[in-house]
Symmetry: C3
Subunit: 448 residues, 3 copies
């Protein structure tokens, strides 16, 4: 008897990719310039890779992080990586790389120190061909839509260029205003200034600041954006009587840490209210403590692999925002957690009640075969399938996108197939749910 | 080779139902009046159903919640439900309803918009027959005992009527004193007044209040009650030097929120001490934040699906109560959690030490096939089987009772069968454990 | 087709045992005296056993705990245990005992009240033979190395005796300084005094105290120690400007509880810095609330089964220590948790970044078949295999050691076999990982 999971996987394996949240560089598709080296394309942008190597004694310098381009040897870095590739056994990075080697670059041997040079050369040869220019790969990957993530003050020149180019690939921006909402962010003052300049609003007043934010939301939407994205280490939302006072303190640098948290909590609710008006879907990524390795942060800056999850309290943290907007028919809020203890305890019960809420897919460290299995196991019985947000790959590693969606689709098929075998529902139900989970619900949730 | 889970399920499938905790209406069995419509019996009492529908944009009004009886059309509500039935795929509600349709009402077609009217009519025809009067169904369900949950101030007229009727069905009350223990409960003042009236005690003094509580516990026990039930959002227990002072403030409305928490924490310990004396089994349901949707609460009141779990700290929260009563040989305390992170971390280690403790079955959002599997996986290795409390259905949806016990029994069989296959113990051990878990341990724990 | 798990288990089943952390008594191997009774060897040292019996109404006295040797009847205790043996069905204790009965004592009948005496006699007869002296059993168990746990002030007379005896069995101490680091420990004052005496350092000054600690670390290392071990209920680390002031208050008994926590947090960082210098691997066991049963603690003292886990925050708790030593190439820190919610949320991401960190195996209540499965499921995808610390049995029940390692090895084989079946990697990869996880990585991590 055929395993129902196999049938379900066959149904969805080749569906177009919907990628509504990620961190690819829009410049690739604006310029359509060839990528340079395998190392720069595959290794350097992927913090999953160098964090693991660092944990096993490989320095950031050896991996070329923080090294000027003219002082690093991409082939040498590739060889080092090949020598350490076994460290990734059992991790999703291994699965993604293997998929990419096999499927995208038609490499039929495993990466080892012995094969490192040959594989490097084979990939380099591919990248030198027109068939591997960004737009061609985008099309071969069968991507229906790809959202980038862009600062609220970004002039979106690459997105303008893509739109002006006549290319039909759908690459859209996402409005990410963290730096203009958090007075403790070291980019706050300069970002507010940028915001004034790009919108021509008077951000010296709170009213002008709100107008500027609305203007930029509209500018993003005009280029196809359907969503905003917000991050918080500790979730807190509130509604202040006098946000203008806090804003003035934020501007002149006299705001305390506690007041800044209040202001940011108020602005999250304000953003939700804007979403009720303009229909941009709100995303909330909570629980990552950033840059916990002080020595690395001071020498190399942000995003070098030392972001670590902390426990999250969705119920109390989101209460004020939900009081304001939770029942609004035009509002969609997608919640992403790094604290799996909240799947069954908080997120599934909340999404199973509030009309606005959708549960984001397993995020970051949990975007993996076992992480996906735990997610379905813990959220579906309470939230059902229609309160999920579908999948997104959340990656800056463009070449890994098909592999990541493939892991999700296999996970969908495994989960639904097991439910069929347990007689929770029958195969015809599962065959309607599989494409829903593979792509449709993501497109619906993000209003694509 | 036969799957041992199949053998085990066959062993226990048809055992009588022991239902030691739930929320059925004793009036049904007192009057034995026919139920009215399928909608009023099956949909309206079931907050699992309308919370999911609400999350997908169906208003409470459309489902008839808060609508006067003469202004709602039960058939129309049924049709709406049928149109949205797919939303429940993968949830226990779907499993329960399917079981009830198939087994209780002998319906052999799935519920769809096309079949909605026919199924409605078939159920309505059943309900119009004597065979579907409450007592007849109770007997056909093979229920050995059914506990209801009743306010401490309830005069228990229906339980008196059942006792007086000569009917042999065992329907017993459970003493639920939340409203007279928590000064912050909006029913506190009126409930204390009711308590005085029903017991003829002088509840103006703390001493009289304690006497009244003891008197009502005895009155419940006289009608067959074997248990009390207590709820707390945040677990806290303590022993005050001067509870009378707090009580006086509670009565005259000058008590602060912090003092009220202290008083309630003291009274939980007091209730445990009463249980040591009178032998009523104490149940503690912790971690539900009630009525989190303010707009719905203000328009429709309690229990409209917006109760959400929060994290629970059993170790510190229960310390004082255990200091007082934890080693008492006559004391049984059953703990129910909505925070599965506490299964392996706190509840199993605690129940594996304290003689009084039993771990309640998966509760509410976790009463499901996967929730049951996680429960066994996480509690048994530390607590063993004899420190579990067995199953209870905790439902106000009477028609779902056999379905809920069936899901548990299947879960028992799956778990034990897997242990047999993993050679943790052999099939003969499993065949002695299966009926223990299906019914015996619940009867023992609740002293039925 | 052969199940890959079977192949993998066959590969590793008979490898030597590496036991780098545990609580066996070194006196056994120093004197090599015969053990006395089955009860004293198997039941009395095992708090897993009497905690479960206590939870089911067996008193500590009945089990002989706290009873003078001349007033207890070991055979009677054995019979009582046999009568209650079914309570352990489904727990790892049952698996361990069965393995020991079958494999170590060649007993082929199950323990029941009827067989209790015969089994007692058979074990007693074995223990009376030279083949069951401690060193002979150690060798038959094929133990490559066994670490004990010893107070920082321990004169290590038994370890000296073992070294002097010429016996080749490798039994090494572990430096456990809790009592000299925590001013709230009731053994603090006497332990500091012992420390002065044993090292000849002037512990009246903070400088002398640090010198004494360094001296004892060196004394332990000279006897083969490769590791230290530290416990904390709540994890906290900090670096004080004036630790000497705190130390002076600790000595004269005027330190507050809050200051004591600061001092202990400082000393944990100090210990990490010592490890950077002397290369002793640091172990941190966090999250056990000790002696929660006040009545038992007052009558019987420590370690009578009422230690219960509490939630742990590794990210904030470890920050200061990692700021100081996290990137040091000579530092290894092994983290043990009782809060499985931290596996995927904190420990795996942290170990997947920091070069010093290794994740300890499932500890205590989680050292079980299902606990091991959850561990692999939740840590490997983020941390990989090389950031794990391998297995240790952490036991004072010497006879259970082979059984405990066998449960781990079966868990390794099950996990890796399932990965092979899911095509995460192939069987040849799994066959290189299996011995790594069974013994090699433990030996490497502990620098054995």
């Amino acid at each position: 008897m055929t395993n129902p999971a196999d049938t379900l996987y066959d149904d969805i394996r080749d569906l177009p990719i919907v990628s509504p949240h990620g961190h690819c560089d829009p410049a690739w598709f604006a310029s359509d310039a060839k990528w340079t080296t395998p190392t720069d394309l595959i290794l350097t942008p992927d913090h999953y890779l160098y964090r693991m190597l660092y944990s096993q004694g490989v320095s950031m310098q050896e991996m070329g992080i923080g090294v000027p381009a003219d002082q690093k040897d991409p082939r040498q870095i590739w060889r080092l990586f090949a020598a350490k590739y076994h460290l990734f056994l059992g991790t999703p990075s291994h699965t993604w790389l293997r998929y990419m080697f096999n499927n995208t670059f038609a490499i039929d041997q495993p990466l080892t120190p012995a094969s490192a040079d040959a594989i490097y050369d084979q990939i380099a040869a591919s990248l030198a061909s027109d068939a591997f220019r960004p737009r061609a790969v985008f099309e071969r990957f069968n991507i229906a839509a790809l959202a980038t993530t862009d600062a609220a003050t970004d002039p979106l020149v690459h997105h303008h260029a893509i739109a002006a180019s006549g290319w039909t690939g759908r690459v859209i921006p996402t409005f990410r205003p963290d730096a203009v909402l958090d007075p403790m962010d070291d980019r706050f003052a300069s970002s507010i200034s940028d915001l004034a300049q790009i919108t021509n609003c008077d951000t010296a007043t709170f009213e002008g600041y709100l107008q500027a934010l609305m203007a930029q939301r509209a500018a993003f939407a005009a280029l196809g954006a359907t969503a905003t994205d917000h991050a918080a280490e500790v979730l807190y939302t509130c509604w202040l009587d006098d946000p203008a006072t806090y804003y003035a303190k934020a501007l002149d640098g006299t705001i305390t840490r506690a007041e800044a948290a209040q202001f940011q909590g108020h602005m999250l609710v304000q953003m939700a209210r804007f979403s009720c008006d303009d229909g941009l879907v709100m995303q909330l990524h909570v629980g990552s403590k950033r840059n916990t390795n002080k020595a690395l942060f001071e020498s190399l800056g942000r995003d070098v692999g030392a972001d670590i999850p902390v426990a999250t309290d969705w119920v109390h943290g989101l209460q004020c925002l939900l009081d304001h907007c939770g029942n609004h028919p035009n509002f969609t809020l997608i919640l992403f957690t790094l604290d799996e203890a909240t799947y069954a305890r908080e997120l599934a019960p909340m999404a199973g009640h509030w009309p606005c809420l959708r549960i984001g897919p397993p995020w970051w460290f949990h975007d993996s075969a076992a992480g996906i299995a735990r997610y379905f196991d813990q959220v579906v019985e309470t939230a059902g399938y229609w309160n999920l947000a579908g999948f997104n790959d959340d990656t800056r590693a463009f070449m890994s996108i098909p592999a990541r969606h493939d892991v999700w689709r296999r996970g969908v098929a495994q989960h639904l197939g097991a439910q069929v075998q347990a007689k929770v529902f029958d195969l015809s139900d599962a065959r309607s749910l599989a494409p829903l989970l593979a792509t449709q619900i993501a497109a619906q949730t993000y209003r694509l």
